[in-house]
Symmetry: C2
Subunit: 446 residues, 2 copies
C-alpha cells in the first residue's frame, strides 16, 4: 500500500497536480513521506512540506529524515517556522536535531521557542548522545507516596495530559528521589483510597543518566517494560526512556555492527556520495592490503620451493579461502553472541576451546577432501599430505583467532565489532600462507 | 548489579545454602534467572525453579529459556504444574512453547489447561510461527462505535482488566470488523458523552494474519506505535501484536542475518554442542571448498606461466584479499540496506553502478600502490602492470558482484542474507584468480 502511495506522490509531483497532491500528502503518514524526500529536488521537497497541514506531522518528518537531507532542507526555512515545529516534538528528538545544527543557528532557534520547551531541550543537550541522558524525555508522571489511587487518577486527567507515554506512575519523595513504580492498571484495581506506597513496586529497574544507550535498551527488552526511569547521581528522577527509542537503538546498533564487521565504518554509506563512500571504506581495505603485501613477502621467501614445485601455488586460494571463511564464522558468532548477551566475556576459554575443536574437526573433514584432490592430481603423497595438514592448521588457527580476538577486545573494552573483521581476515591470511609453505618445504624435503 | 547477583546464586548453589538462596531467587527477575539456567545441572535447575514462589515468574522463565534448555528441563515436570504455569502466560508465548513439544505431550497439557485459555492457544497454533497470526495475542479492547467515552472508561475498569497492554481501544462494528482506533489519552480529554466514532482515527495501520513478522515489526517501528491490530481476510479484528514482541523480532532477525551472512545457518550455534555446530557450519564451507578447488584448476591451466615467472604466485593472496574484502563491504551494505529499508530493490541499477564506481576508484588507488611494490621488488614493468590491472579488475568485479547478487536475490524473493555470503566470496575468489593469470600471461608474453 505504502509503496503505491509513494509512486503516486512522485507521479503527481511530475504532473504538478497540486490539488490532488495536497489531498494525498495529508492522508499519508509523515514517516512515509520521509522515505521519498532524499530522492526529490529541494524545490519539490519544499512543495510537499508546505502542503502538510498538521504541524505535528512536520515534526515527525523532521525526525525521520537522514542527517544530510535534513540539514540541506532546513537551510531555506524561516527560524520561526522551525521553532514552531520543534515545539510539537518530544524534547529528546528536538535535542537530536538541534545537536546537528551549527551553534549559531541552534541558539537562534532555541531563543524563538517557548522558554519551557527550550529549557527542557537545553537540559538534554548536556548529556552525551548515546547515553540514557541523551535519549530520555523529561516528561513523566511522578507522584508522592501518600497520594491515593483516586487522586492519582485525578491528576492523570489534569496535570499529566501531555505526557507522551503515560503507562507508569513513578513514586518519588519530597526531593524527587525515585521510590517505586506502579502501573495504570493497578490504579483501577485497588480500592480508591489506597495510597500509592501500599501497592507500588519498590524494586524499580532504573538507569543512570550516563548509562550507555545499548545497556538501557537491553534492560527494556529483557524485562519487557515500556519505559525505564533515568535517575541522576543522587537517585533523583530526571526522565524516562521509552520503548520506541529502544527499538531505534537496537536497529541502529545492529546496522552499525554489521557495517563495522565488514569494515565500512559505522554509518550507512550507500546514501552518501561515491567520494564519501570511498573515504570511509579506504582505511579498512588498507589493513587487508598491508596483510596481502606481507603474505607476498612470505611467499617470496619460499621462491625456491615454488620453482621446484610450481603447482604448490595452485593450492593457495583453497587454503586461504577455507581459513578465511571459518574465521569469519567464528568471529561473527562471538561478536553477535556478545552483543545479544548469549555469550559472556567471562566464558572466554570455554568459547575459544569449543571453536578450536570445531575448527580442528572441520579442518580434518576438508583437509582430507582437499588432500584427496591433490593426491589424484599430482600422485606425489607429500603434496597431498602438505596440503591436507595446511588446511587443518589454517582452519584451526582461524577458528581460534576468530573467536579469541573479539573476546579479548571485549575484555579490554574495545568494541569487538569494529576491530574484529579486518584484523581476523588479515592475520588468518598471513598465518595460513606461512603454515602452508613451511609444511610443504619440510615434507617435500626442499 | 545483575551479574553480581548471578555469581551469588551460583555460589549459594555450590554451598547448598538453601534459605539464603530462596531469598535471593525471589528477589531476582526470572529473565535474569534464565541466563544462568543453561550452565546449571538439571537437578540444580529444578532446585532453583521450585524455589520461585510466583507462578507468573515461572512463566517468564519458561519463555526466556532457549529451546534445548527448555525441552530438557520440563521432561521431569508434572503436566499439571506445566499447565498451571502456562495459564499465567500470554497466549502467544504459550503457543510458542507448546509448538516445540511433541504432539502427544502438547495435547495432554492443553487438555489440563482451562478451556478458555487452551482454545486461545489452539487458535494461534494454526498460524505459521513467523507471521502476524503466530505472534499476536488475542486479548485486546474492542468497543462499538456508539459507546461513549464515559462508558468506555467504565468497561476498561470492568471487563478489560486482564488485557496485557491496554493502550489502544479498537472500535469495531457488530460483526467485529475493525473501524478505527482511539488512545487512552483521548478518552479522558473529550467530554464524557462523546461517542467513540466522533473522535476515533479511522486510518488504522492494520496487518493481516499472514503478514510476515518482519513486516509487522517494521510498521510498529516506523509509526512509533505500541501495538498493531491484526485482522483476518474479512477485516475482522482477531488480535494485536505488541511492541515487546517487535523488539524480540528485530533482535532475532538481526542475529539471523548476521549468522546467515557468515554462513552459520540462522540459529545461534555457540550454545549447541561441538557436533551440532559442525553439522550446521559444514555445508557453507563446502561452497568455499568447491570454489577453492575450482581456483586450483584455473591456476593449473597457467602452470607454464608460473614455471617461467615463479613470483607471480606471491601476488595471489593480495589480489584475492582485496577482492574478497571489498566484495564483503558491498554485499553487507546492500543486505543491511535492504533489511532496514534504507535501500529499495527498485533502485537496483543506481546502487550497483555506484558500487561499481566505488570499486573501480578504490581499485585504482590500491592497484597503483600494489603495482609500485611489485615494480620495486621485480623491476620488470610488465609484472607491476599485470598486478595493478588485476587488482583494479578484481575490486571492480567484486563490488559489482557483491552488490548485484543480493539485489537479484531480493528481487526473486530469495533471502539476500542467506545466499549472499558464500556465493559472493567464492565467485570473487575464482574470478580474481582467473583475471590475474590471464592478464599476466598476456602482458608477460608467455
Amino acid at each position: 500500500m505504502n509503496s503505491i502511495r509513494i509512486e503516486t506522490i512522485k507521479r503527481l509531483l511530475r504532473r504538478d497536480a497540486l490539488t490532488h497532491l495536497r489531498k494525498i500528502v495529508n492522508k499519508t503518514h509523515a514517516a512515509d513521506i520521509s522515505v521519498i524526500f532524499p530522492f526529490l529536488s529541494l524545490s519539490n521537497q519544499h512543495k510537499l512540506f508546505d502542503m502538510i497541514a498538521d504541524t505535528q506531522q512536520k515534526g515527525i518528518l523532521f525526525s525521520e529524515l537522514g542527517e544530510d537531507t535534513f540539514l540541506n532542507f532546513i537551510e531555506a526555512l524561516e527560524l520561526d517556522e522551525i521553532a514552531e515545529i520543534l515545539e510539537t516534538m518530544p524534547a529528546d528528538d528536538v535535542a537530536d536535531l538541534i545537536g546537528r545544527l551549527p551553534h549559531e543557528k541552534s541558539s537562534a532557534i532555541l531563543e524563538k521557542m517557548k522558554k519551557e520547551e527550550s529549557e527542557e531541550v537545553e537540559g538534554l543537550l548536556h548529556y552525551s548522545d548515546d547515553t540514557a541522558g541523551g535519549i530520555m524525555v523529561p516528561d513523566f508522571i511522578a507522584l508522592k507516596e501518600d497520594t491515593t489511587a483516586k487522586d492519582a487518577i485525578g491528576s492523570l486527567q489534569k496535570e499529566y495530559l501531555n505526557v507522551e507515554m503515560p503507562f507508569y506512575l513513578y513514586v518519588t519523595n519530597e526531593h524527587g528521589k525515585l521510590l517505586g513504580v506502579c502501573s495504570l492498571r493497578q490504579l483501577v484495581v485497588v480500592p480508591p483510597d489506597t495510597p500509592l506506597k501500599a501497592f507500588m513496586s519498590a524494586d524499580v529497574f532504573a538507569v543512570q543518566t550516563y548509562t550507555d544507550q545499548e545497556e538501557v535498551a537491553k534492560i527494556v527488552a529483557r524485562y519487557d517494560i515500556l519505559a525505564v526511569p533515568v535517575v541522576d547521581d543522587t537517585n533523583k528522577l530526571v526522565g524516562i526512556v521509552t520503548v520506541d527509542d529502544v527499538i531505534d537503538i537496537f536497529r541502529k546498533e545492529a546496522t552499525e555492527d554489521f557495517l563495522k564487521m565488514a569494515g565500512v565504518g559505522a554509518e550507512f554509506v550507500e546514501t552518501k556520495s561515491v567520494l564519501k563512500s570511498m573515504k570511509i571504506r579506504l582505511p579498512w581495505l588498507f589493513a587487508s592490503c598491508l596483510g596481502g603485501i606481507f603474505a607476498f613477502f612470505i611467499i617470496g621467501r619460499f621462491e625456491e620451493s615454488l620453482s621446484k614445485f610450481t603447482y604448490l601455488a595452485a593450492f593457495i586460494p583453497v587454503i586461504m579461502g577455507m581459513g578465511g571463511n571459518i574465521g569469519t564464522q567464528s568471529s561473527t558468532i562471538v561478536v553477535r553472541g556478545l552483543a545479544t548477551g548469549l555469550l559472556n566475556i567471562k566464558e572466554i576459554w570455554s568459547v575459544v576451546l569449543k571453536e578450536l575443536a570445531v575448527g580442528f574437526m572441520l579442518g580434518l573433514v576438508y583437509g582430507s577432501l582437499i588432500a584427496l584432490v591433490a593426491q589424484v592430481q599430482y600422485t606425489l603423497p607429500a603434496v597431498g599430505i602438505s596440503v591436507g595438514l595446511s588446511v587443518i592448521c589454517s582452519m584451526s588457527v582461524a577458528a581460534l583467532v576468530g573467536s579469541l580476538v573479539p573476546m579479548i577486545f571485549a575484555r579490554i573494552n574495545i568494541d569487538p565489532a569494529v576491530a574484529t573483521g579486518p584484523f581476523v581476515t588479515t592475520s588468518v591470511d598471513i598465518i595460513s600462507v606461512f603454515f602452508y609453505f613451511q609444511i610443504a618445504t619440510i615434507l617435500l624435503g626442499i
